[in-house]
Symmetry: C2
Subunit: 304 residues, 2 copies
Amino acid sequence: MISSEDAPAFPLCATIGIIGTGLIGGSMALDIRHAGLSSALLGTNRRPESSAEALRLGLIDRAVSLEELLCESELILLCIPAGAAAKMLPGILDRIGERIRSASASDRPQPVVLDVCSVKGVIVDAVKGHPFRGRYVAGHPMSGTEYSGPSAAREDLFRGKAGILCDAEDSDADAVALVERLYDALGMRTVRMDSASHDVHTAYVSHLSHVLSFALALTVLEKEKDDKHIFDLASGGFSSTVRLAKSNADMWVPVFSQNRKNLLGVMDAYLARLQEFRSAVEADDADAMRSLIEAANKIRRIIK
Amino acid sequence: MISSEDAPAFPLCATIGIIGTGLIGGSMALDIRHAGLSSALLGTNRRPESSAEALRLGLIDRAVSLEELLCESELILLCIPAGAAAKMLPGILDRIGERIRSASASDRPQPVVLDVCSVKGVIVDAVKGHPFRGRYVAGHPMSGTEYSGPSAAREDLFRGKAGILCDAEDSDADAVALVERLYDALGMRTVRMDSASHDVHTAYVSHLSHVLSFALALTVLEKEKDDKHIFDLASGGFSSTVRLAKSNADMWVPVFSQNRKNLLGVMDAYLARLQEFRSAVEADDADAMRSLIEAANKIRRIIK
């Protein structure tokens, strides 16, 4: 008798291929290996040294070319910045289409591609009407850190987080089911929404936080030019608000660019509240400051 | 032979009195008791229920009136919001003066009062030229959380943090030495500076963080009025930047008010950087966004 502990925990498919084994792709790789979700884990990266590092860190079984990965994987995880993902996705669907049409692949499960980008509208638009659109699932695991690259990968990054699944009606049912099983195995709860809502929501609860953190870092670093001790008093509160300013430009420039319209609206709403706060401080209006702070305190209901 | 473990660890003085046994006062109380820094620990609060709670939580030995506390304590810790502290401090120094002048106190150590407020200029100004100014030490332990009240007190809140000591030349040498020993026993490194520099530094690395976090909370809570699912995607990044928005108005209104001039200057610098960011996003200028983000990334040098 084989005990349940010896059995492969949760096989999803034979081969999973990860395009971009950085923070997100690499962390998924760790959990996929740990849970025994596939028998082979392939990785490819724009920079060969990233693949070498992913291999050295044990994130993947084999570093392969993009072509090999697209040829061999049943599940393709597209874990690269949003700009590059939008450009690459139509070609990936073309290649999946060729595999499906070819006789040799007819008895294997049809490949699925999932992307994990922080912005969905532009990516979804890039493959609108593609004959194999159904093999693509628009995802977004709501987790991350301010670090990047294969060395930033860590286990259990996604546990307890929301796994977004956008426009599920545009994907084939088996593709959606596969992604839901992946999310489940990674410890995420699946949250479905349309891509337009996703992009508004992330502008509010993710993209704006990054912008204000970048601006905070810039403000205090600028001051440091004429006061080199300005950081001497920096404590936990500052670290907490400025943490996201360590985030990578390669990831965030395309996100801000592709979600520009939503982000500008949200920034304007934020600037208006900041100006309201500034007016209360300038007028030394304690009642106005108090009512703004107490209104803000309602966030206690959301953030425990 | 008494082993070193049985000996009182580090007695500073017989009686320490804490005015305001909330987050900061209460946390100091816990460390003071733990380290055996005094033989009696007294507490007083504006609200009797806060004193009762501090007693129940074991933060203090005795809940007393302000008058009793000022009469009995060798070290008085003034741990109340900045506005109230500035109002109360001259009277405390008057009372310390009476004790020093009275014959019965002549052979006891002269009392010292330390305040812990996040803004120093207004408080220092309130006792400028006071005949017993030397018995007051202007302090600021750079630690805290977004919670308040006696139940928010916790051990080791100050370990590894900066213990600011302002305008030390205006305090008596023995008073400064006592505070340095307290900071040391609480695990803080003493950092000396003048109160004007303190107030500029805290505007940059503490007060601004609070303002932008309050404004972030207001922005997203406002959006929630017409989109009740807006927080569904909130993740670690949002929690981190919005955490300070849970902070208490009783503490922060007087800080913003008393440090108004510095804070307005810092907010304007921040608003300018935010507008710069907004312009880059609006123009979809990837190079400009990248250079702002990469400049902000220099914060990695400061925040590990």
